[in-house]
């Protein structure tokens, strides 16, 4: 269980002074700007153990997501982590799902075990190595999206999933993306930028073909559904809506956008405003923060309520 | 200190898994553990093993049981709950803790056909005079009923007490259907005044045994005994346990619900045009959970109606429970409300119920409910009429 890399990381973190972890800086300003003066550290790197037959992988937080996926692909597996660059620890701390979350699952459901360094400099383990586990309190979920403000993630065990045999992107103009979501059984993604709709289908060849036929019944402005290499390019900022709210998106507020239909995430060129929190929830969140980081030394300046820069 | 005299092995059979909870009508409407089979068994254990007093809440827990026995079909460990609660109710009745003297007199009257019929006529007259409040929950009773005459001697048709007084037409329909299938039936009439089920439910075991013994003596000719009331059929099938005699077991083995009898003999019924009705089947608990022959109702009805529709409440009790609807009125109504909601979701033209108690209880809740035999008889009759018209 003891891992030298993790212990060394803990020593580096120590027990005093403001400290922050730097990954690939792909979403560096999420949750607000880091307070100046915080010591910048890097989390340990490397895949510790991939167990394809268990569909789990133990990986250190500083490992690039691309490197992890490259390793898993050799075994026909993948994770729910987003394919937007960055490190494993960064992706978890930001809590961002892949744009194909409907097919790949949510990041918050993928974290089986987290080992982090506490504000006191101790290595703490939450969760467990198995794919199913309800032993004690769920610190894993608490840490996904916590922006490193409760502890600094050092190493995790993630659930992996098989890569489906066939994967297709389809695109159409002037169609109703909600109708597409409705008729399809379980698409990996339905994306909409205000004009065009992209649909990602995955599965066995015959099923993908059947879904494609189903989709052809959804009317388009003309030209029908055409196959394309990839989905749209995603604008940098994330907004969070209820899935039903995507029916009335305002391009003037969002700028250019790509909406993940059925999920509620909208990638937009404008950044979202801070969102208010009910006082009772805010008080509870503050108690949680205080319990884990009484001195406020972990990633000072980041605030979880602020989703994106 | 009261003991219930329950079998220790039967009591210890419950492992408290709770799978019975959702099948129990009283737990469903109260959410209260003391109103559940698991809770009632725990209370029986508390009384029996720990000497807990029969306090009011404990006694009420036992009294409010509808004895639908749905918990028995839900129980993977086959706890004989019906037996446990029957014995418990018997002790309560013996101790004078439940069943007030007027109610006791009412049960006693059931063994006397002329009294029951007189009461039926009095109630029917009272209804015409608006002297019987609708809140009593009775359907509109007939003022006069013609006698039933035997149609042959292949089978007995058990006619019972209240049903014969209130709903003799159902027996008539049953006899028509049996005749169409080639079976002549002898109505049991005053030969067997009552099966004793209502007495047994109330814990009045001695009168129940007396009535059962009378049936065993009267029906000893070895012919099949057909029953068109699910509650009576269930009782008669359990005469073996009740009386413990070979003769009782022999009779019990040739008791059949009328649909159970007809289902394997459907080829003997003529093919007719089905009634243009969407029919929801309401399974009487004693058909589904005790006799466990409720599928036969569907098999018999299906060719005679346009459409059969299932209720979505997984056979939950309607709250009729023999005399329960009259003794525990508020509970019975709360339970019925769930059933009515389920019926409303099924949007049927009519509800088919093979138990007169259920049918009455549902009817007083505003549901059009008929006996399955009535539907079959009507389909046969309409067919005959249209054929003769064509000629």
């Amino acid at each position: 269980m003891a891992d030298d890399a993790l212990e060394a990381f803990a020593t580096e973190v120590g027990a005093r002074g403001p400290v922050a972890v730097e990954g690939a800086r792909t979403r560096w300003s999420t949750g607000g700007e880091l307070e100046p003066g915080a010591r910048l550290l890097r989390a340990p790197e490397g895949i510790v153990e991939h167990r394809p037959e268990e569909m789990t992988v133990r990986v250190r937080a500083g490992t690039p997501v691309d490197e992890l996926h490259c390793e898993l692909a050799a075994f026909g597996q993948r994770t729910a982590l987003p394919r937007r660059g960055g490190t494993v620890g960064g992706a978890l701390a930001v809590g961002e799902d892949d744009v194909c979350a409907l097919g790949r699952g949510r990041v918050r459901d993928a974290l089986l075990q987290v080992r982090y360094v506490s504000a006191e400099g101790a290595v703490v383990t939450g969760g467990g190595p198995t794919v199913k586990n309800v032993t004690g309190y769920d610190l894993c979920r608490l840490f996904v999206g916590s922006l490193g403000t409760l502890g600094l993630i050092g190493e995790v065990i993630l659930r992996t999933n098989p890569v489906p045999p066939v994967s297709r992107w389809l695109r159409a103009d002037g169609t109703d993306p909600f109708a597409a979501l409705d008729v399809l059984f379980r698409p990996s993604a339905v994306l909409f930028d205000g004009r065009a709709t992209w649909v990602h289908l995955e599965g066995h060849a015959a099923d993908v073909e059947a879904e494609r036929r189903t989709l052809s019944a959804v009317p388009t402005a003309g030209g029908g559904w055409t196959e394309c290499e990839d989905g749209p390019v995603l604008p940098p900022h994330r907004w969070s809506f209820r899935p039903s709210e995507l029916r009335q998106l305002d391009g003037a507020v969002l700028g250019a956008y790509v909406a993940s239909v059925g999920v509620g995430t909208v990638f937009a060129s404008h950044s979202p405003p801070p969102r208010p929190q009910a006082p009772a929830l805010r008080a509870l969140a503050e108690r949680v923060k205080h319990a884990f980081d009484p001195g406020g030394r972990l990633n000072p300046g980041r605030h979880v309520a602020l989703l994106a820069p | 200190m009261t003991t219930l005299g329950l079998d220790a092995g039967e009591l210890s059979r419950c492992v408290q898994c709770g799978l019975c909870l959702s099948s129990c009508p009283t737990f469903r409407v109260t959410g209260d553990e003391s109103q559940s089979p698991r809770g009632r068994i725990a209370l029986m254990r508390a009384v029996e093993r720990d000497g807990a007093p029969l306090s009011t809440p404990v006694r009420r827990a036992f009294e409010t049981c509808v004895q639908c026995r749905a918990c028995e079909t839900a129980c993977p460990s086959a706890v004989p709950f019906g037996h446990l609660i029957a014995r418990t109710r018997e002790v309560l009745a013996d101790e004078g803790l439940s069943v007030s003297p007027p109610v006791r007199a009412g049960y006693a009257a059931l063994g006397h056909p002329s009294l029951v019929r007189a009461a039926g006529r009095a109630l029917a007259a009272g209804q015409r005079l608006r002297a019987v409040p609708r809140s009593v929950g009775l359907p509109r009773l007939p003022l006069r009923q013609g006698p039933l005459t035997p149609s042959g001697s292949d089978v007995h048709l058990f006619t019972g007490c209240v049903m014969d007084a209130f709903e003799r037409d159902v027996h008539r329909d049953t006899m028509r259907v049996l005749a169409a299938a080639g079976f002549g039936a002898m109505p049991t009439g005053d030969r067997v005044p009552c099966c004793g089920a209502l007495h047994a439910h109330a814990g009045l075991t001695r009168p129940a045994r007396r009535l059962a013994q009378r049936a065993v003596s009267a029906l000893g000719d070895g012919r099949p005994v057909l029953v068109d009331s699910a509650g009576c059929g269930a009782m008669m099938k359990e005469y073996g346990q009740l009386l413990g005699s070979d003769a009782a077991r022999e009779l019990a083995a040739r008791v059949f619900d009328v649909s159970e009898w007809l289902a394997p003999r459907m080829a003997q019924l003529p093919e007719v045009r089905p009634l243009d009705l969407r029919v929801a089947v309401q399974d009487p608990c004693h058909l589904r959970h005790v006799q466990r022959v409720h599928q036969a109702t569907r098999a018999v009805l299906a060719p005679f109606v346009r459409e059969l529709v299932e209720l979505d409440d997984d056979g939950l009790c309607c709250g009729a429970g023999g005399a329960y609807a009259f003794v525990e009125r508020s509970e019975a109504r709360a339970i019925r409300a769930r059933k009515l909601a389920s019926i409303a979701r099924a949007v049927p033209d009519v509800v088919a119920s093979a138990n007169p108690g259920c049918a009455m209880h549902l009817a007083s809740g505003g549901v059009r409910s008929v006996h399955p035999m009535t539907l079959v008889a009507r389909a046969l009759e309409e067919h005959a009429t249209s054929r003769s018209a064509r000629r």
């Binding site: 309800v134 979920r141 608490l142 059947a210 | 492992v15 408290q16 799978l19 809440p57 460990s77």
Partner: protein, 491 residues
């Protein structure tokens, strides 16, 4: 008064609980129970643990009433224990030290279903299966399907982060809850999570789920609803040995197939359930493996075929495919009522719940049988093999002298063997009172301290379901009000 009381044959009743009058003021007389026999009923759940003691029992019908009850308890310095249907198997709902028991079964309305957001808003007392039945005409279901789903409540599922056979593919309750209204242990109301993709704040919804009533009481729950599969194929494979069945499970997963469910039952339990459901389970097999694949037509056909191939390669003696929905329903009824059916073998059972890596299943199973034999106990195995979630049932008769002690010892050894194989203490039943003292076997003091920090953030005063989850030595475990320590709960 006094003279009349002494003339009674019955022992004099204890002095009335001072909080009862206040609770009656909140809920009315009908929905507060203080009768000793009624309270005794709520001292149990579906586990083997006894020795709990309930204080007044409350039946609130709204969030506001739950808040009022909790605030009354706070004012009287009393703890609060929430309870749903009482089908838990780890003693999580067993009241310790006469707390106020808040029963949620009267809060059982399905308030809204929104297909656009794919969400259902339910009260905590809604029965799990009732929601799925309600959703069926709409083509949806609620995915978590614990074996007790016909009786257990969704509030209980949230408290235990319940699983079930189909969580192999669909995930446990935590993956299907979007938002929660929670009455915190001080009576304050918060909404955790939300319907939007990424609600602001820490994922306190995720942290709350599985909190076993120690973090507050959920009074309104928004659950994700799942589209029904296009096609379901259910396979029954019979094997000579349980090890062959377990090896097959590992091989299926290793082949990159994630069925909706993979369940194993050994010979004894198969016989017990078959006599109840008459589903046609083979009685001569050493073990049966129930595999369900669901999804689109082609994918399920391919997967089913490969499962059969893998099964045959690992010694499957017979393979049966459920031909009709009725056949499928019967097979599942057998599986889901298995625990209850064991009374046909012995009057009491102790059900363990550990998870091990799937590849470790055959070895750990072997150990489980050896452990039982060493302690002169009968064990049957029926479990969620697909995710390595073992459920050995130790069968005994609690009236037999020394049986409880042997069961306790064997249970602990099973836990130790599971942990040594790289497993965890609980896969879906939770910690409750059953495993709180095993927690140090899996977690260090520092780990437990951090779990305790989360708990104290929700419940600084240790009022919510004290004595559960965290072992003695951590706060909220050793509350003075506890009349009995959990060791005395056995039996």
């Amino acid at each position: 008064m006094a003279s009349r009381a002494t003339r009674r044959a019955r022992p004099q009743p204890a002095a009335p609980d001072p909080i009862v009058a206040a609770l009656v003021g909140v809920l009315g007389r009908d929905r507060v129970r203080d009768d000793a026999a009624e309270r005794s009923l709520l001292a149990h759940d579906a586990s083997v643990f006894s020795g709990g003691a309930a204080g007044p029992v409350c039946f609130p019908t709204s969030t506001e009433e739950v808040q009022a009850v909790v605030r009354t308890a706070v004012a009287h310095g009393r703890a609060v224990v929430p309870r749903g249907a009482g089908t838990g198997l780890a003693g999580g709902a067993i009241p310790l030290g006469r707390p106020v028991v808040v029963v949620t079964t009267k809060m059982n309305r399905i308030l809204d279903v929104d297909l656009d957001d794919r969400v259902a808003w339910v009260e905590p007392g809604v029965v799990n299966l009732d929601l799925t039945t309600y959703l069926r005409p709409l083509g949806y279901h609620f995915a978590p399907d614990p074996s007790s789903q016909q009786a257990c409540t969704i509030g209980g599922n949230v408290a235990n982060n319940s699983g079930g056979p189909h969580c192999l593919a669909y995930g446990v309750t935590g993956q299907h809850v979007l938002a929660l209204d929670v009455v915190l242990p001080d009576g304050e109301l918060v909404r955790l999570g939300g319907l939007d993709a990424e609600p602001p704040a820490y994922d306190l919804r995720g942290a709350f789920i599985g909190g076993e009533g120690t973090l507050g009481i959920a009074t309104l729950i928004a659950v994700r609803i799942t589209k029904n599969p296009l096609r379901v194929r259910t396979l029954l494979l019979a094997f000579d040995t349980i090890e062959d069945a377990a090896t097959t499970v590992g091989s299926v997963i290793a082949a990159g197939i994630v069925p909706a469910a993979m369940e194993v039952m050994d010979r004894r339990i198969t016989a017990a359930v078959e006599s109840f459901v008459h589903a046609g389970y083979p009685l001569d097999a050493g073990a049966v493996l129930l595999v369900e694949v669901d999804g689109p037509e082609e994918g399920t056909a391919v997967d089913a075929e490969r499962v059969v191939e893998i099964g045959r390669a690992n010694g499957a003696t017979t393979v049966r495919v459920a031909a009709t929905e009725e056949e499928r329903a019967l097979l599942w009824k057998g599986r889901k009522t298995a625990f209850g059916a064991v009374a046909k073998i012995a009057p009491s059972y102790y059900l363990q719940d550990t998870v091990v890596p799937r590849s470790a299943l055959p070895g750990v199973l072997q150990s489980v049988y050896e452990i039982a034999e060493r302690h002169d106990l009968m064990v049957v195995n029926v479990f969620h093999a697909g995710d390595g979630n073992l459920h050995p049932l130790l069968l005994f008769d609690s009236r037999e002298h020394g049986a409880i002690e042997r069961v306790h010892a064997a249970g602990r050894e099973i836990v130790e063997v599971s942990l040594a194989a790289g497993g965890v203490l609980s896969g879906e039943h939770g910690i409750g009172v059953e495993k709180r003292d095993y927690m140090p076997l899996q977690f260090s003091d520092v780990d437990l301290d951090h779990q305790n920090r989360l708990r104290r953030a929700f419940d600084p005063a240790c009022r919510a379901n004290p004595g559960k989850v965290l072992p003695s030595g951590h706060s909220c475990a050793d509350i003075q009000a506890l009349e009995r320590v959990p060791a005395g709960l056995w039996g």
